[in-house]
Symmetry: D2
Subunit: 111 residues, 4 copies
């Protein structure tokens, strides 16, 4: 799923439409979910961002396409914060990176 030319990326992004004249952004974020659904990548909406993971280039393209879609909806400017991580110490089974991190923390706390 990842070669040395395309690292497997575990990410989260928070997209903010600017200059829209209204403080609500839920309509734009919903549109992003439709884009992510089409991307085929594993994603999950959280309170302050959306978890997303896959080969780096595909994760990047999916976020880019969210920008395209939100611009098409009328937002003249967009600022996005992306957190993105890669590791070479072990293999991540595709689609399991973000979930596994939560599980490891829960296991430690349950002891």
């Amino acid at each position: 799923m990842s070669t040395s030319d395309d690292l497997y990326a575990v990410a989260d992004f928070c997209l903010i439409p600017m200059g829209t004249g209204e403080p609500s952004v839920a309509g734009y974020i919903a549109e992003c979910q439709r884009i992510l659904e089409k991307s085929g990548l594993k994603y999950k909406v959280c309170g302050y961002g959306t978890n997303l993971e896959g080969p780096w280039s595909e994760v990047s393209k999916a976020i880019h396409d969210c920008h395209l879609a939100v611009h098409a909806q009328g937002a003249p400017r967009i600022a996005t914060d992306i957190r993105i991580g890669t590791r070479t110490d072990r293999e991540i089974a595709p689609g399991t990176g973000n979930e596994a991190k939560v599980k490891r923390v829960e296991e430690i706390l349950s002891k």
Copy 2:
């Protein structure tokens, strides 16, 4: 819950211990959850960060205290990314800010 002197903050933070000699961070993040539990603030662990909300000064202090705890566990350096939002167009019932954002997106998508 928030006065003009202390805005209500809906936030998410991702704390990264540095110089620890091991790539795993789950033990440090678990320790942060114990600190957050004591803070009395509403929080939720997500795949690439932890949702946290409350009066700005308390949210900031809770994250600061996570740094103190992770330093105490042996991490000589810490880098944290915080996303933090405030709004004055409407009241946020304490503890509902992050959840409400997810719900609004889900409502739009279910139509």
Copy 3:
């Protein structure tokens, strides 16, 4: 300058006014510089954020006060991304944290 109760923080923040009806944000960011100037903390405007450092509680309060000022200018909602770091392996002379990081990289590259 920092005690165990208030870690010295080297930070950078990017404040984004939302729902303003205009894509430009320079006026809001200029107002933030006036707030930071009053804070007495060391700061520097960069292309995609503002470097800021000092005791954690003061850094946090300065960013909070930028939110207050930007709300007062008419922005109903604000989303800010903060990168904040602390370290216990060595002392940081007040106001030198961000500059020193750039210098060390430049020294290595000039070799």
Copy 4:
């Protein structure tokens, strides 16, 4: 420089090597500058991140290649925070996006 298929991106990223056993990261960041130099994109090292801009796909690839290089230097895990913005309300002359933002703020403050 940017088509609807590849938005022009004004960005900043902060790369953090994890599990390295030493709190200092300057050597890794210097290596990233060498990668960015080769990319041909406009970049500038700041205190808490590196400004970078160009077509979205090239900006993304440059940051990906920094991850590859830092892994090659021995870091088993990397976490990066990327701030990335696009706009459709006006054209950005290639390489001027981040600088222009600082200038506009300075112009307002000098009045």
